[in-house]
Symmetry: C3
């Protein structure tokens, strides 16, 4: 594996720009169109369609939703809340409507945010048939009494739910799992950052000459998509997945965040905490009680996959979340690159983890191997101290990741020592405990 990661911040940002205008929802052509664009970057991204009504655990695949237009015409004949201008204006999964009503009746179909008066909220109604419009609080306050024409040209029909899946074979059948979602309309951090970072991680992994683990990478609608996917694959996944990451909200520059798996101490959790500690010691730590994305399914009782989440600003915790303000200004090439690096480093730590063991009792004589200063001066040996600390714990029972935690050093640096010391026949390594 490479020692540094590809610089793909600009590529990820451009990809987000291209995907931004598409109207994604739980189902429908927006998802298909987005997966089509993503599949340009890698080989072998499979697109699956699951018919409406298919049963999956306690759920079934919903109807497919299609919308052609949606707007309100005010008493002056001006169009407001026009879906053509912003796809957040229509409540997701709105049923069709074409009628005229007074302002009072209309109000019951309007959604706005009094505390964020210039933001259009994002609202959906997946499981109850209704229609509605979202608009800014300021716009709503300016509405005058009178007759309003409302029109949503939409359709709910037996179609299918669409998701993408990419599998990369590795030396082992054991898998690392990545999951991201494609189901929100025009929002940047809480939608597009996920697939943009994930497809570039996939591209990076696909370019590797050797992978220790196999990879399972999915692009799904949130919640129902993960339930559908698990209903088909949970047995194989429970058997093979050694670590997994839900890739969500990975685009802005403000902070790094970590949300644990339900177990809290899986390999994914330990490696995520390790990497974030060395990326930014002040990263935000959440608990599983703060969950809100597909870890809800992946970590549910009976599924119990080791899935943790490494984010930038977490969903629900930044002001632009689930509004029209979560636009391309919120994310940046460097924000995306930071998240890419953190998750790629998590993956690299897992790929390179091993059980190192000193070949001989007592400290090795590094001096005659050119690995130790030959003069003992006060304070002189500081530069090799970290390597000596690592060797002190190479007892064949502790993994390199555990050692990295004990001596508080980044695993990326320990990996370079391991290479040197294996070459010098001072330590040997195994993938299992000695």
């Amino acid at each position: 594996m490479n020692d540094t990661f590809p610089c793909v911040g600009d590529d990820m940002y451009s990809l987000a720009e291209r995907l931004f205008p598409i109207n994604r929802s739980l189902t429908g052509d927006g998802v298909r169109q987005s997966l089509g664009i993503l599949s340009e970057l890698v080989t072998g991204l499979q697109v699956h369609e699951v018919p409406t009504g298919t049963s999956c655990f306690d759920w079934s695949v919903p109807k497919e939703w299609k919308i052609r237009e949606g707007w309100i015409e005010d008493p002056n004949g001006d169009r407001i809340a026009d879906f053509a201008n912003c796809n957040l204006h229509v409540v997701g999964y709105s049923t069709p409507v074409d009628t005229v009503m007074g302002l009072d009746e209309l109000q019951q179909h309007l959604y706005s945010l009094p505390e964020q008066p210039d933001a259009i909220p994002y609202v959906t109604s997946y499981y109850k048939e209704r229609w509605g419009f979202c608009l800014t609080e300021n716009q709503r306050r300016s509405l005058q009494p009178g007759n309003y024409r409302v029109r949503i040209d939409s359709e709910l029909f037996d179609g299918s739910l669409t998701y993408g899946e990419l599998k990369l074979a590795g030396d082992s059948e054991k898998e690392i799992f990545l999951s991201t979602y494609v189901c929100h309309p025009s929002m940047a951090n809480n939608e597009l950052s996920g697939p943009c970072v994930t497809i570039h991680l996939a591209k990076w992994l696909q370019a590797m000459t050797q992978r220790r683990y196999s990879y399972r990478i999915v692009f799904i609608p949130e919640t129902i998509g993960s339930i559908v996917y698990l209903s088909r694959h949970h047995e194989a996944m429970r058997k093979n997945v050694v670590a997994g990451f839900n890739v969500s909200c990975v685009g802005d520059d403000r902070v790094y965040s970590y949300l644990p798996s339900r177990d809290g101490n899986t390999l994914s959790d330990r490696v995520a905490k390790h990497v974030l500690h060395h990326t930014d010691p002040d990263y935000c730590r959440y608990t599983f009680l703060d969950r809100g994305s597909d870890e809800r399914q992946y970590c549910s009782p009976g599924i119990d996959l080791p899935v943790a989440t490494v984010m930038r600003s977490k969903y629900g915790m930044y002001p632009e979340y689930h509004t029209s303000h979560d636009n391309l200004d919120v994310i940046s090439p460097s924000g995306l690159q930071g998240a890419f690096n953190a998750i790629a480093e998590c993956i690299r730590c897992i790929e390179q983890d091993c059980y190192p063991k000193s070949v001989m009792p007592c400290e090795p004589q590094l001096g005659r191997r050119g690995l130790y200063p030959d003069l003992s001066v006060k304070g002189g040996a500081d530069s090799v101290r970290e390597m000596m600390n690592m060797i002190a714990y190479c007892d064949g029972k502790k993994s390199l990741l555990e050692i990295a935690e004990i001596i508080d050093a980044p695993m990326s640096r320990l990996t370079t020592y391991v290479k040197k010391l294996v070459n010098a026949s001072v330590i040997e390594t195994q993938s299992e405990k000695f």
Copy 2:
């Protein structure tokens, strides 16, 4: 079981008023009289008599003590420290005396509290024969030189030690154990609060239509009484008792307190901490090193019962303790009711604890069962979040109490969710791990 607890604060306080004047000691008619009054509230309270000299572990039952009168006549012929006015005036278990002596000699038989000059201390001498008087420091300082007549008309004789025992059968032979003491003369928080709360807990338990556990409830003299009781029943108790509470100092309004079992992590401890955390997060936490009541015996090596203590102001920690100031002004109906509720809630948590398990993998679809909001709005799902958090841990391996701890919610609320979700066939429960 009921969802709310009976309002018995006034009843408990009245009972304390009635019991207050009686002169209780380790043995004797004061104990018998008190048990007689308590037995009016429940059916089946058995009174046992254990003869003086009966051997029990390292101890033997002491002589019975009877006192008819006790006073000092000062040089002016005025009676002071008269037992008839306050039964704390005579040192407990005083031998008889009727003589005249000078002030200097008398001083060696007097007890007072320099730092609490208007309080009569409570002093006993159970295991060495002596006599003495207790009086206020102020009174003592006013004594003039001269001849004092001292008279204690008491008797130490082969009689018996008296205790009360109530057993309530439940579905299981496994028992919950309650212990309180009846051996102090006129003191309120550190004596009468215990039997008053305990007898009302017994009445509440007796009125239940169904009990999962059996109950063993004892009213005993402290220390020697618990040793006597254990010497007769410890084998059955070690086999059956799943949880127990020593009921002591449960009458005032100032604070809630918790003293752990020796083990510190028994079911009693976990449930006591849970209930007190939700009753008053600032409750006083003691350690087993602060012990001072019958948990000393119940938790001793070789006995090891899971007995924890839930109190209001702990013995030894409030200024009126073991003095005449621990009177009926210290306790109150609301103080007694607060303790009643806390211990009753502990019992209810144990009765209702179970292992809940999600019927299906992944989150259940609560929406179609009317248990989840059908519109996804920013910040909208907060009201069902706690129930979803509970479900996320219903893996069949964690008890409801453990889940309550993880999600930091009162078990009483989780119990209502469990009922709903069992009815909706979303979870199932067992009394053991799945």
Copy 3:
């Protein structure tokens, strides 16, 4: 064993004065001479010689080093940096040299400490052949351009490495291990305090009429000496050593310090922390990452001995360390005695540790044995409380050391209670769990 320790502070200090001028190194006559002086204090100190070139794990015994004289003659013909004045002036293991050179060339062979301008540093070059001089920064700055004659009359030759070993038999084959080093020239805290305290501990142990454990006490050159010793004895030591202490930097008065074994929770660690907590609750706690002496070998993977270190000011952490300032002013009789007491107390705790068990269930009746006050007064029983706390944990499963930790009392005091209570047939003890 005695209840108090011998007052040997002055003896230890005098011994340090006597050993101070000797030029010790990894090998050579300085070590032999020092061991000769130490062997005057005890019977049976064996001196071993291990030939140059002997293989030991990853290392081999180095050549022996002998130095007769070493000095620089400045352009004025004045001798500076003369080994005869201070044996720190010549870099340890310097090869012979006798030549004239300019100041610029000389500078490359000089060592000084800019931040401590009046201290001569201590420098060695054990594993690369070179020569050099150490001097104060002030002296170095005063050197004028011109020709300097440098002369070191030394020799590196096939000889041997010398160490001392004392074995004391005890009732058990299980051993307590003490290790200290004799390999530094004239330095006091970081050299002589170690052998001076250790030989007096040996003398104290030898004088005991009965020892539960056997003792293995070694005086070795640091690092290579412990590696040599382990290569010969590690199998027996791994089988028998139950606790061990590296005795280093035990002479000054400033502070107490603790450095754990690699495991961190061995008997040595637990007892060291216990004793230091009761010696000075503010003692300095280091981690194994701060290690720097022979615990590096004793605790290395594949050796894993339970060796902890109890120090006064730790090597590397006090300003005089590894300079000419670490002289006899740094250490003191009281500093040495404090360390002696701490380590002796660690040993005594191990010797006296046991599993106490109450003979009967419930609390014993101490009153009738004269061990409990016979009058119950408010606050009266405080003086026996600690003993009662101990008894409360005498369940036959917890060692006296564990009980001392739980009730936060010094084990020396608990030992006196144990004696009383065993005599009173209240508890019994075993060396293993009941």
